[in-house]
């Protein structure tokens, strides 16, 4: 591919000390937190919100806002990466590990994929292995504050090792499936898995 005449890369200095944390093609957005949303941002009342784990499980389970908070809490501290090329370092999220939710519902042996559903109709698909083993959370707090509407409040999925479109905002349902099926952005040309370190941005990437 051609070198761009006259381009040296002025963000490189800033990135240098953190290059081990900045996946290829990403830049450090600092303390900004951009949003990218395909639908109108809903305002959800936590009192009328719930989350369900169903599909290929021993027993579907639904938690209300209050019941979810009664589960053992957990937190993530680290980085997040958006396919639109920004990365944000050192974000704290508080919520509950997806492991806790899956354990309660009991995935059947044939469950290999999960579709996350949002109130807006947004969906995103993930291999179950990307949600288990302490790699994914359902969160309601970011940097010590309740998650705002535009960032998916009251509750969103958090899968920080994948591009952030996998961290479905306004999540209300995790559906366990035997076969993979593309979600919203995946049907619209985005990669099925979305590993930032492999630059799995669009369909056809490695």
């Amino acid at each position: 591919m051609p070198v761009t005449r006259g381009f040296t890369g002025k963000r490189r200095g800033e990135a240098a000390g953190r290059s081990d944390r900045l996946p290829p093609g990403q830049y450090d957005v600092g303390r900004e937190w951009p949003t990218l949303t395909a639908e109108a941002t809903p305002h959800l009342d936590p009192e009328h919100w719930s989350i369900t784990v169903d599909g290929l499980v021993e027993k579907p389970v639904t938690w209300s806002w209050r019941e979810l908070h009664a589960l053992p809490g957990d937190a993530y501290f680290g980085d997040i990466h958006c396919v639109t090329t920004w990365s944000r370092f050192d974000v704290t999220f508080a919520g509950v590990s997806v492991d806790v939710l899956l354990e309660a519902a009991g995935p059947l042996p044939e469950a290999a994929y999960v579709m996350a559903h949002s109130t807006t109709g947004y969906t995103t698909n993930l291999p179950i292995a990307d949600l288990t083993g302490g790699k994914a959370w359902v969160v309601w707090e970011a940097d010590g504050k309740p998650l705002s509407d535009e960032h998916g409040g009251p509750v969103r999925l958090l899968v920080p090792h994948l591009y952030f479109w996998k961290s479905a905002k306004w999540v209300t349902r995790l559906e366990l499936m035997a076969r993979d099926r593309p979600g919203f952005w995946e049907q619209n040309g985005y990669h099925d898995r979305g590993d930032p370190w492999l630059e799995q941005r669009y369909q056809g990437d490695p």
Partner: protein
């Protein structure tokens, strides 16, 4: 769906920077795949040591245009937009990937639609408008363009000439006093001459939330509002 998944080389055919804040870049894309109005391209810059930086930009051109036109706003300290503004010249080569964005935020006449763009969020809507004009479907697309001033609104003259409703928030336009679009102004465009079946909103986070609220108040069903928003939120 037309989605090109590999990188190709684009040669810069024209660059205009009318006011130093916007750069209109027209590209001759090798092995080009036709886009749908509303889609975007990724532009990637490459340094001699293979360091790269890439950003997405909406396409302003009609699919029938032999060149792909991008309108790039200069961002403070923007690594990619800064290069496109300060360095890029005709004849330069860029890596591009596109068209991207699937069919979600695109319009090619399937529905009667109202499209609301704020500032540089008007760019993908300009592609829809140009497509509508060429295919004789101008009556199926109603455009609301919102900018601070005529100078700061990309394609302002073209939008006015095409009959778009332009609302300026910091200066008067004819007899219209500076203000965001009033609910009744939006309602007229949503309802007349027949109710719009779909809405498109593109702009900053604050603008998108304003526009979706006003569209909702004007009777647009939330499930028929498609949003593309950019920028930071707290």
């Amino acid at each position: 769906m037309a989605t090109s998944t590999s990188w190709s080389t684009a040669t810069v055919a024209e660059v205009d920077r009318p006011d130093g804040r916007l750069a209109r870049v027209r590209l001759d894309v090798a092995d080009r795949v036709a886009h749908r109005p509303g889609q975007h391209y990724v532009v990637r810059l490459r340094a001699p040591d293979d360091y790269t930086a890439q950003r997405s930009y909406s396409i302003a051109s009609d699919p029938a245009d032999p060149l792909v036109e991008l309108m790039v706003e200069r961002l403070p300290d923007g690594e990619v937009s800064g290069h496109l503004h300060d360095v890029l010249e005709p004849g330069d080569q860029l890596e591009v990937r596109g068209p991207l964005g699937g069919d979600w935020f695109t319009w090619a006449g399937e529905t009667t639609a109202v499209a609301v763009g704020g500032g540089s969020g008007i760019v993908p809507i300009v592609s829809m408008l140009r497509y509508a004009a060429r295919t004789g479907q101008a009556d199926r697309l109603r455009v609301i363009a919102v900018g601070r001033s005529l100078d700061e609104l990309p394609y302002a003259e073209e939008l006015l000439a095409a009959g778009a409703f332009v609302a300026l928030t910091r200066e008067n336009l004819g007899s219209r006093v500076a203000a965001p679009p009033y609910p009744e102004e939006v309602r007229d465009l949503v309802d007349l001459p027949t109710p719009a079946e779909r809405a498109y909103v593109c702009g900053s986070v604050g603008f998108a939330s304003f526009a979706t609220r006003v569209l909702g108040e004007a009777g647009m069903r939330v499930s028929e509002i498609r949003v593309e928003q950019f920028g930071a939120s707290g």
